[in-house]
């Protein structure tokens, strides 16, 4: 059976763009490893299934020559630079392949002192877009299979990286589905919104894929795993599920880079990026804060300015 929901339609982007980015990534990765400038390049390699890709920690020139960039390269590889996944990398300086959205996460990690800029060689990739969750990877990227985040992407071209792989083709103008959905939710009454999220969270099975792929979920001891004392019920029931998703959204406010990996990997189709976007919107409105492709010394919720809005303090 086809698990995806994509329908036939014309290719969205010339596949040659991805091929050019692939060639540039390979050349840079091979050069870096052969010159001994890095001990590993975190990139993507092809999977067994047509169109699939997975993260790869390449430590040899041979492995680097197999790296790819395709619409299947969905993962945010900044995850591997976070404390949670660092164990997968060899010691020394590493290189990482990042799309614009991933770069925002990397910049956030640097801003939070999780690593220093000079500890990583950043290979940016000019990214026309990647597949969304559940897409049929064997078919060319189409408007229907493009990730929702990519429809509204403002960071197709990374800035401030050591190198940029590929060039951007002209990109089609697409309806901002996620912004529309957010507006729909905002127009609801609080009761309707509560009903919406209650239904979404009810499906959660607590596989924690959302947490595990998030570059910013690097706490050594997640509050939601604690049992002495227990803060959040671990069983997949309404109380614990709701608490977990609210904790997650709040803890990521002002940190989330909008890569939307949490939403993509959710096997229960919970639209988690709507929560992330809402938080980002609030932070912009209240503090003029936005996550960017450059590390920022202080986040919105870790700094204080006299003019900060305090109307919420009753």
């Amino acid at each position: 059976m086809t698990q995806g929901q994509q329908t036939e339609s014309t290719p969205l982007v010339d596949p040659a763009c991805y091929a050019a980015a692939t060639a540039a990534i390979r050349a840079e990765a091979v050069r870096l490893l052969e010159a001994g400038e890095v001990t590993a390049v975190v990139g993507y390699r092809a999977g067994r299934r047509a169109g699939s890709a997975m993260p790869e920690v390449a430590t040899t020139a041979e492995a680097a020559a197999q790296l790819i960039f395709t619409p299947g390269c969905q993962n945010n590889l900044a995850l591997f630079l976070s404390k949670a996944k660092r164990e997968a990398l060899p010691k020394g300086k590493v290189a990482v392949v990042v799309k614009g959205c991933d770069l925002r996460a990397l910049a956030g990690l640097i801003g939070e002192s999780q690593l220093k800029r000079d500890e990583v060689h950043v290979i940016g990739v000019a990214c026309p877009g990647v597949y969304g969750a559940g897409a049929d990877l064997a078919k060319p990227l189409a408007a229907e299979s493009l990730a929702r985040k990519c429809r509204e992407c403002k960071v197709h071209l990374p800035e401030g990286t050591d190198v940029v792989a590929g060039t951007l083709p002209p990109l089609p103008d697409l309806a901002p589905l996620e912004a529309e959905e957010l507006a729909r939710l905002e127009a609801m009454t609080p009761q309707e919104r509560w009903a919406f999220w209650t239904e979404q969270f009810a499906r959660c099975i607590r596989c924690l894929a959302c947490r595990q792929v998030c570059p910013f979920c690097f706490c050594t001891q997640c509050l939601c795993d604690r049992n002495r004392p227990q803060a959040v019920d671990t069983s997949p029931r309404p109380a614990g599920n709701t608490a977990w998703h609210i904790v997650r959204a709040m803890h990521l406010a002002g940190r989330c880079a909008g890569c939307a990996e949490c939403e993509r990997v959710c096997p229960m189709d919970i639209p988690l990026n709507l929560l992330n976007r809402k938080m980002a919107q609030e932070l912009f409105e209240l503090y003029g804060f936005e996550t960017t492709m450059q590390p920022q010394e202080q986040g919105a919720l870790t700094s204080y300015r006299d003019g900060d809005d305090q109307s919420f303090i009753k």
Binding site: M54, N75, C207, Q212
Partner: protein, 335 residues
């Protein structure tokens, strides 16, 4: 003579069972995804899509209460759930990869201890399996000893036939009883030419060779190679028809609460964390190794069965693209 059942009559069968007070669970579209859920009428049955989660939850729910407690006037009362109240259930529209799994799990749930929660549900449930006529590139049932029309685990089996409808086969007393009770819906004769089956196009696996390789390669660079990328979530285990680990937690307040059993996964970093803070599987490749060892060695050693039915869900939904079939192909080549 072979009996057939039209799609309309299959829907009527569901309606009739519901009318008798039987709980009928089958693939049902809810929002953007199809899951096994209690049906309220036959037409809700969605047979064209493999449900996102497996059918194991019919017997082993994501979460269930195993006792409750209440403190009143200085006395604590503990009560067990009344398993006699578990409903008679018909699980319908189950593809072979899902239908085979509960039977495989019987071995562990009745091994050193008879788990009444699982076994009572098994006793009260009739499984109506259906031959599989559509597959994708994540499916690999044929590589782990099943087929798209495997009867294993089904009490009654439906084979989609040309021109619509199903050829029906009762496989045991439960299946026959269900068929007898609703005999009027089943027609004698009719077209019984089966629709082409969905044979996954995959490399075969030698499960015994794989077991032998695993036996000698607990320490091997392959584990790091495959699983350094593993993000450590439970998506694979939770969607899997055969993974069956659970945690037991007490939830509630001082005055009252419940002891609950809920799904757990060996991919989680805290899965093997000791109270001393020592963690025998302290890095992700060791955790992923356990997933493969449990499915293809430990369970075979202990019960002679493989803890995988090739449904492909873990492949479709792994956040980092780990493909268990590719892993097994690799081991198969080595052994």
């Amino acid at each position: 003579m072979a009996k057939t059942l039209s799609l309309d009559n299959l829907h009527r069968l569901v309606d009739a069972l519901l009318q008798e007070g039987v709980r009928v669970v089958g693939p049902k579209r809810t929002g953007t995804l199809t899951v096994y859920a209690p049906l309220t009428r036959g037409e809700e049955l969605e047979l064209n899509e493999l449900p996102r989660r497996s059918a194991k939850e019919t017997f082993f729910p994501p979460c269930e209460t195993i006792l409750s407690f209440e403190k009143r006037d200085g006395r604590t009362t503990v009560s067990d759930p009344d398993l006699d109240r578990l409903p008679e259930t018909v699980l319908i529209g189950v593809r072979p990869c899902d239908a085979a799994a509960p039977g495989i799990l019987d071995a562990v749930f009745s091994w050193d201890y008879d788990d009444p929660f699982f076994l009572e549900r098994r006793k009260r449930t009739t499984i109506i399996g259906i031959a599989c006529t559509s597959s994708d590139d994540a499916c690999f049932c044929t590589a782990v000893g099943l087929t798209p029309d495997a009867r294993q685990g089904s009490d009654l089996f439906l084979v989609p036939v040309e021109g619509g409808g199903f050829a029906v086969e009762a496989l045991d007393a439960k299946g026959s009883a269900l068929k007898e009770r609703h005999a009027a819906l089943f027609t004698a004769g009719g077209n019984t030419v089966p629709l082409p089956l969905a044979e996954p196009k995959v490399e075969p696996l030698d499960l015994e060779k794989i077991r032998a390789w695993l036996d000698g390669n607990f320490e091997h660079p392959l584990w790091k190679e495959i699983a350094d990328r593993c993000a450590g979530c439970g998506a694979c285990a939770f969607l899997c028809p055969a993974c069956h680990c659970f945690d037991i937690v007490d939830e509630g307040g001082e005055g009252s609460g419940c002891r609950r059993k809920h799904w757990d996964a060996c991919g989680f970093g805290k899965f093997t964390m000791h109270a001393s803070a020592h963690n025998p599987r302290d890095v992700q490749p060791q955790r992923y190794r356990n997933r493969i060892m449990h499915k293809f060695k430990y369970y075979r050693d202990k019960f002679g069965q493989t803890l995988c039915t090739g449904c492909g869900r873990c492949i479709r939904w792994c956040p980092v693209g780990i493909d268990i079939k590719a892993v097994l192909d690799e081991i198969n080549k080595k052994s």
